[in-house]
């Protein structure tokens, strides 16, 4: 069997799984899986860029995805009336001031001769800078958060079309990735892992607590959509007519139509990113990346700047995750910082990349769809399994109840087993790198 045939069979298989879900459950859930599958595929592409091309171990995907979500709010929501006037200037000023403090401390550290005087100077700059920052920042934040806290209480966004948020999400994620990469790359590989794990927790903490930015855990709901609203479709005479001509119920048809609009938008993004990633992989740059991955010392001896290349690809991969994060928040229609969990947004993506085949873009896309499908379906399947296992037990027994209640936790178990089995018996994944 040739590679092309094998790949076609794989993708046809995943498509079949989704279609079966459509018949057995409902078309809405099938399209839900498809949409999230598309997004997962993009995230997996981003991680594959870092891990597959360059061997960088990033466990902070959740943070970059969340930054994408933040971008959606900052770009697409309308500005809160009066918020900028109330405290926008001082907040921005305070943030710039904070950045200036860090830069100043860095300059002093570089320019001054080592010794206790330098320590004292750096400490002084940081302490003074911190208190100036807080004295500017706190009152401004309080003013912003006072503006109608029940529904706004934040700065709001730029009021631009929501699709514009996708590239912005990528840029935000790239900026943070640069910062992290600059510190942690060039050290041993585990340090990057810990550093990214940390930054992702911090990004989530900031998004949960800085209410002036995006309302924190009060969530921002009702984000603008790139697709029409179901209600509007159901009111539109032409849509009802078209639905009837297909013999469909207008309510059902409207939900399906909206999901299809999203799916086509996401497909466009996925195809563009996939082509770019494929071109990158087969360019001299991609070959150099893989050469660095396989033997850093040899590449260094050939005059390649390994750390700089690593930084480059780390930023690129994180940007892709940021784009996917913005798309996901757009699909959800709301930003809920409380729902970002590392197991779902970091480690699951890793399972996708490993199962699909590290280093292979096509594999990542396949892994994205397949593992997402599994992630969604494990719960009903687990419940079915538990019902089957407990069939013989007496009604109302505590064990039976416990087992059925716990079926929801089958997800993590299954994912762990899938990851370990693939690593052990097929470490190159379903579609191996050529």
């Amino acid at each position: 069997m040739t590679d092309t045939m094998r790949n076609t069979v794989y993708f046809a298989g995943v498509a079949l799984l989704i279609v079966i879900t459509g018949f057995v459950q409902s078309w809405n859930s099938a399209l839900f899986i498809l949409n999230f599958g598309l997004i997962s595929a993009i995230m997996a592409l981003g991680v594959n860029l870092q891990w597959g091309f360059a061997g960088l171990f990033n466990v902070g995907i959740m943070g970059f995805v969340a930054l994408g979500g933040l971008a959606t709010v900052l770009v697409s929501m309308p500005a809160t009336p009066g918020a900028w006037e109330a405290g926008g200037g001082p907040v921005v000023g305070a943030l710039l001031m904070g950045a200036a403090t860090v830069v100043a401390a860095g300059i002093v550290l570089k320019k001054m001769a080592a010794g206790w005087l330098r320590h004292a100077a750096v400490l002084l700059i940081i302490v003074v800078g911190f208190f100036v920052f807080r004295s500017l920042f706190d009152p401004a934040v309080a003013l912003i958060e006072d503006i109608n806290p029940a529904s706004t209480g934040y700065l709001g966004g730029l009021g631009l079309p929501v699709v514009m948020a996708w590239p912005v999400g990528g840029v935000l994620a790239a900026a943070v990735a640069w910062l992290i990469g600059k510190t942690a790359l060039g050290l041993r590989s585990d340090y990057l892992a810990i550093a990214t794990l940390g930054i992702s927790e911090i990004i989530i903490a900031v998004m949960k607590n800085e209410d002036w930015l995006a309302r924190g855990v009060k969530n921002v709901a009702g984000l603008p959509r790139p697709a029409p609203y179901e209600v509007d479709l159901q009111d539109s005479a032409s849509f009802i007519e078209r639905a009837n001509s297909f013999g469909l119920d207008p309510v059902f048809a409207s939900t399906i139509w909206v999901k299809l609009v999203y799916a086509s938008l996401f497909t466009v993004v996925l195809v563009i990113l996939f082509i770019l990633a494929q071109r990158a992989l087969h360019s001299p740059w991609g070959r150099m990346m893989r050469a660095i991955r396989d033997n850093e010392h040899a590449a260094e001896a050939m005059g390649k700047n390994v750390t700089a290349r690593h930084l480059q690809i780390f930023v690129l991969g994180s940007a892709v995750c940021g784009i996917a994060g913005a798309m996901m928040t757009t699909l959800d229609g709301q930003l809920t910082p409380g729902t970002y969990q590392p197991l779902r947004f970091t480690f699951l993506i890793w399972v996708m990349v490993i199962v699909g085949g590290s280093g292979s873009n096509l594999g990542s896309v396949l892994g994205g769809f397949l593992i997402w499908w599994l992630w969604v379906m494990v719960e009903p399947m687990g419940l079915g399994l538990m019902n089957f296992v407990t069939m013989g037990m007496s009604e109302g027994s505590a064990l039976k109840e416990h087992l059925i209640d716990s079926a929801a936790h089958m997800r993590l178990l299954t994912m762990g087993f899938v990851l370990l089995l693939v690593l052990r018996f097929s470490p190159r994944g379903l579609i191996p790198e050529k």
Binding site: D190, L412, G416, L423
Partner: protein, 337 residues
């Protein structure tokens, strides 16, 4: 003078005691991470969930004991149950080593592959713990709640500030001291401990001198299981047991191990206390202490809190970054492979 005493009592109550007991928990966790790193040469991401598993087993046995009416007097029953939790965890880590990690060790796989494998183990353990005990908070502490309660302290000293010293905090500190003494005695004085250190320093030389690597690895896992269970149980007793917390604990634990220098046991302890003290001190509202110490006219209006407690992860992270930037091998020069 009284003011300074009051300030000191407030400081002890809100900063010193919590930070010392939290530091002891982190140090025990970081010791496990650092031992695995030194001997097996990878960062074990499943460590947080190993702690959760150990604590869970202890809790289950505690409940069993409580239902049988066995108690440990003023001390929590969990201490009686802990040996059983340790045994169960030992079984678990030996099982994962035999069926998961050993394969990659024999292949001489790259450390990063082992890290990813440990991610898989983490998934399974996390799922297992949630499956068995559920994702919710579990309380299992019993016995006396306080060694010194606020009221007793006030009656005793006549000071305005109270001092509470929880039993769990006392137990944490005492246990940690005992465990660390035993561990260092073992590593420095016994033949097996010495062979472990030799293996950690130089694998090839250790093999040449006839040290059995599989035995070293097994003993390491046994020690790590003990440390993880103790750390997990103490943390659960002191705060509360929630499976999700242990995943979040991974960051400060790793930060402690790296700050101290990966692979260095003494560094792990220093790192644990560094992280714990910084976290507590930076997120504590200093108003109370400051009001006693400074003249009345200067008394602060605000809380004098540097960062809100929600950012405590940020503290361990920033310390980690600073150490990575200026001293990548950590305070006690661990290895950097």
């Amino acid at each position: 003078m009284i003011d300074f005493l009051n300030a000191f009592v407030a400081l002890s109550n809100f900063v010193l005691i919590p930070a010392i007991s939290y530091g002891a928990q982190l140090a025990l966790g970081a010791l496990g991470v650092t031992l695995i790193y030194g001997i097996l040469r990878f960062s074990n991401f499943a460590h947080g969930d190993t702690m959760a598993f150990g604590a869970m087993c202890t809790i289950l046995v505690t409940w069993l004991f409580q239902s049988w009416g066995i108690s440990f007097g003023p001390l929590p029953t969990a201490l009686l149950a802990m040996p059983f939790g340790i045994l169960a965890t030992m079984g678990l880590v030996l099982f994962t080593d035999r069926y998961v990690y050993k394969f990659y060790r024999e292949q001489k796989a790259k450390p990063v592959i082992l890290v990813i494998v440990s991610l898989g183990v983490m998934f399974i353990l996390n799922g297992l713990v949630r499956f068995i005990i559920g994702p919710n908070d579990q309380r299992f502490s019993d016995g006396e709640r306080f060694i010194i309660s606020v009221r007793n302290f006030k009656d005793m000293t006549g000071l305005k500030e109270g001092l509470a010293f929880k039993t769990t905090q006392g137990i944490t500190i005492v246990t940690a001291i005992i465990v660390v003494i035993v561990l260092f005695w073992f590593l420095n004085r016994t033949r097996t401990g010495k062979s472990m250190r030799a293996y950690s320093d130089n694998e090839d030389l250790a093999l040449l001198s006839g040290i059995n690597p599989e035995r070293v690895v097994m003993i390491t896992w046994l020690i790590v299981a003990t440390l993880a269970t103790i750390a997990g149980t103490l943390y659960g007793l002191d705060k509360s047991f929630k499976p999700f917390i242990f995943l979040q604990l991974l960051l400060p634990v790793f930060a402690s191990a790296i700050v101290g220098g990966l692979g260095s046991p003494i560094g792990a302890i220093a790192g644990g206390f560094t992280i714990a003290f910084s976290e507590v001190m930076i997120t504590y509202a200093w108003k109370k202490v400051a009001t006693y110490v400074v003249p009345e006219a200067w008394a602060p209006d605000s809380l004098v809190q540097l960062l809100s407690t929600d950012y405590k992860f940020a503290v361990s992270f920033v310390i980690l970054l600073i150490v990575l930037l200026f001293r990548p091998t950590g305070l006690f020069a661990g290895k950097s492979v």
